[in-house]
């Protein structure tokens, strides 16, 4: 009878738990263990204790990639948040032309990260790509650049492409958030004589507080794991210019065959990811879902 533990309950939970423990949680824990080993994946592993960890925090390449990853987080937030918020509010409006434009705004969401990387790397930002042709066409030839080959520009080009990829997702969040704001608030404000800008700053923005938190944390955790686009566009180069932590983890573990050291970098990624997620749960009260379940 439902509500009581009987023989079929373990049977129902078992498949999901088995997959999850064997292929997600177990590997995550194993990564911690492997991070204490010196191992190339083939020969016998050696226990090196904290060796990989002291290396991770003294190796200039890894430190540089940590620094780049933090920069990706901060810059992505600065670029993506205002644009997504404005677009979300824009699309929440009921004018028909906005719904029409929205259909096109969300197109980037359909593409795999690899497809996006290829479109930008080989047709938009390449030496003879659309951006340089456009700059020449408007007489700004001096502004043309080797966007992904110039070490001082490539990082910002990557940030821009990542923004293009993810702004539509955050726009969706802000659109949904804005639509949930009670209309009476606006009606009251209009009666009080508030203009469009005042309504935005005194009603829309404060009401979107939780959406901002959710979107921010998703951007931060996302920034930790941006891999595909960067791998496809620059492979972490030129030099180390775009080698963020996930790239550094991949190159260390799978190209340089330092499985143990790569695992230490992977664990750093996971710890930061989990911390950010916990902050999200704490700030948005994800836990409330639990308490609702008590009434069964």
């Amino acid at each position: 009878m439902p509500g009581r533990l009987n023989w079929s309950v373990p049977l129902m939970l078992l498949p999901a738990v088995a997959f999850f423990v064997v292929f997600a949680l177990g590997p995550m824990i194993a990564a911690v263990y492997i991070s204490f080993l010196d191992w190339n994946g083939i020969s016998t592993p050696h226990w090196v204790g904290l060796g990989n960890w002291t290396k991770a925090f003294s190796d200039s390449v890894t430190l540089h990639s940590i620094f780049l990853t933090v920069q990706v987080m901060v810059l992505s937030w600065i670029v993506q948040t205002p644009i997504s918020l404005l677009l979300g509010v824009f699309l929440a409006g009921k004018q028909r032309y906005r719904a029409f434009l929205g259909v096109f705004y969300f197109l980037p969401l359909l593409f795999s990260a690899v497809a996006i990387g290829l479109i930008w790397a080989s047709s938009m930002l390449s030496a003879n790509g659309a951006l340089n042709s456009f700059l020449k066409a408007i007489g700004a030839s001096s502004l043309t650049n080797d966007w992904l080959g110039n070490p001082s520009i490539a990082f910002y080009a990557v940030i821009a492409v990542i923004a293009w990829q993810f702004i539509p997702f955050h726009t969706l969040l802000y659109q949904a958030g804005t639509r949930q704001i009670p209309q009476v608030l606006y009606e009251a404000a209009r009666i009080d004589g508030a203009g469009t800008l005042q309504q935005f700053f005194y009603i829309t923005l404060p009401q979107l507080k939780y959406t901002v938190v959710t979107s921010t944390i998703l951007m931060f955790t996302g920034s930790l794991t941006y891999f595909d686009v960067i791998y496809v566009m620059t492979g972490g180069g030129p030099g180390y210019a775009t080698r963020t932590l996930p790239l550094q983890m991949y190159i260390t573990a799978f190209q340089d065959a330092q499985i143990g050291y790569g695992s230490a970098i992977a664990v750093i990624l996971a710890v930061v990811g989990v911390l950010l997620s916990l902050i999200m749960i704490w700030l948005t009260g994800f836990g409330r879902m639990e308490s609702q379940a008590e009434g069964l």
Binding site: P2, M12, A16, M28, L101, L109, S112, I119, L269, L278
Partner: protein
């Protein structure tokens, strides 16, 4: 539809002087700027794919070629993109079926059974929401090699399933909890067991949530790059994203050919977008767009 109509009648009821005949120019202008930024790369990709390799450098930035060619598409198809489609479809269909089946069973148990063990299990599954895929990939690689699934399509499925489960269970649990208790009670009175209740009550009633999780997971698996990159090696078992990335090396300067491959890879999703835009966008923000 109904909402829009209600909107229009309300709009019409307003006095004429309040009604805006033209859209506010500033949002309209900024909206158009973003339209160009979001859409232009997609458009340029498409018109480039219709150009000949010799002609694409001198082609217009805005206009499609006057004599479009299908040669790039034929070349990409001749290069076996069909096989990569099949590989991707195989991995996607099996992974999504498994994710949804095991998650639905688990979500039912979690939503309906008040037991400490079950609720602790739920917490453990939710931990998975915080684990970045990249962080577990090294041991997954070791494990897949160890159990002999390295360089097979089957090797891609278990990790995809494992990482799809947490969010899928969360969404389904929240949905199943909203099914009124009276419905369960009446089925229990009829003497139905858990599996009967699942089949004839929970499954039909949670269809909207099931559609959401199917779309969400299908896109995740279809577009996944990291698992095939690390868990496969042979060219005949590549999935589409990996094959695309390999095309980049193979096609080199043949940008029109590469863009044709990119367009073909996204075509199924564009078709889905045209048919079911609302469900697709809902599936994409699954779990976050409260």
């Amino acid at each position: 539809m109904a909402v829009e109509q209600g909107m229009r009648t309300r709009e019409a009821a307003k006095p004429a002087r309040v009604r805006r005949l033209l859209p506010n120019p500033i949002p309209l202008l900024l909206g158009l700027v973003w339209f160009v930024i979001a859409f232009y790369p997609v458009y340029y990709m498409f018109i480039t794919s219709l150009r000949t390799q010799a002609g694409f450098l001198s082609g217009s930035l805005w206009l499609p070629p006057s004599n479009p060619t299908a040669e790039n598409y034929l070349s990409v198809i001749g290069n076996g993109i069909g096989l990569y489609f099949l590989n991707s479809a195989f991995v996607t269909v099996i992974s999504v079926a498994l994710i949804v089946a095991v998650s639905l069973l688990a979500a039912y148990a979690i939503a309906r059974i008040r037991s400490r063990v079950v609720q602790i299990t739920f917490r453990v599954l939710l931990l998975g929401l915080a684990i970045p895929l990249q962080a577990a990939i090294i041991p997954i690689y070791v494990l897949i090699v160890h159990i002999g699934l390295y360089d097979t399509l089957y090797g891609l499925i278990p990790p995809q399933v494992a990482f799809g489960i947490p969010l899928t269970v969360l969404i389904l649990v929240n949905f199943i909890r909203d099914i009124p208790n009276e419905l369960y009670d009446s089925m229990v009175l009829d003497g139905s067991g858990h599996f009967r209740i699942l089949r004839s009550l929970v499954f039909p009633l949670s269809r909207p949530a099931l559609i959401t999780v199917v779309i969400y997971n299908a896109l995740q698996v279809w577009n996944n790059f990291l698992f095939p990159l690390i868990l496969t090696q042979s060219s005949n078992i590549q999935t589409l994203p990996l094959a695309l990335q390999q095309f980049q090396g193979q096609y080199g300067v043949n940008v029109p050919g590469l863009m044709a491959a990119v367009f073909l890879s996204v075509l199924p999703i564009i078709v889905l977008y045209v048919i079911a835009r609302r469900q697709l966008l809902g599936g994409l923000t699954a779990g976050f767009g409260k």
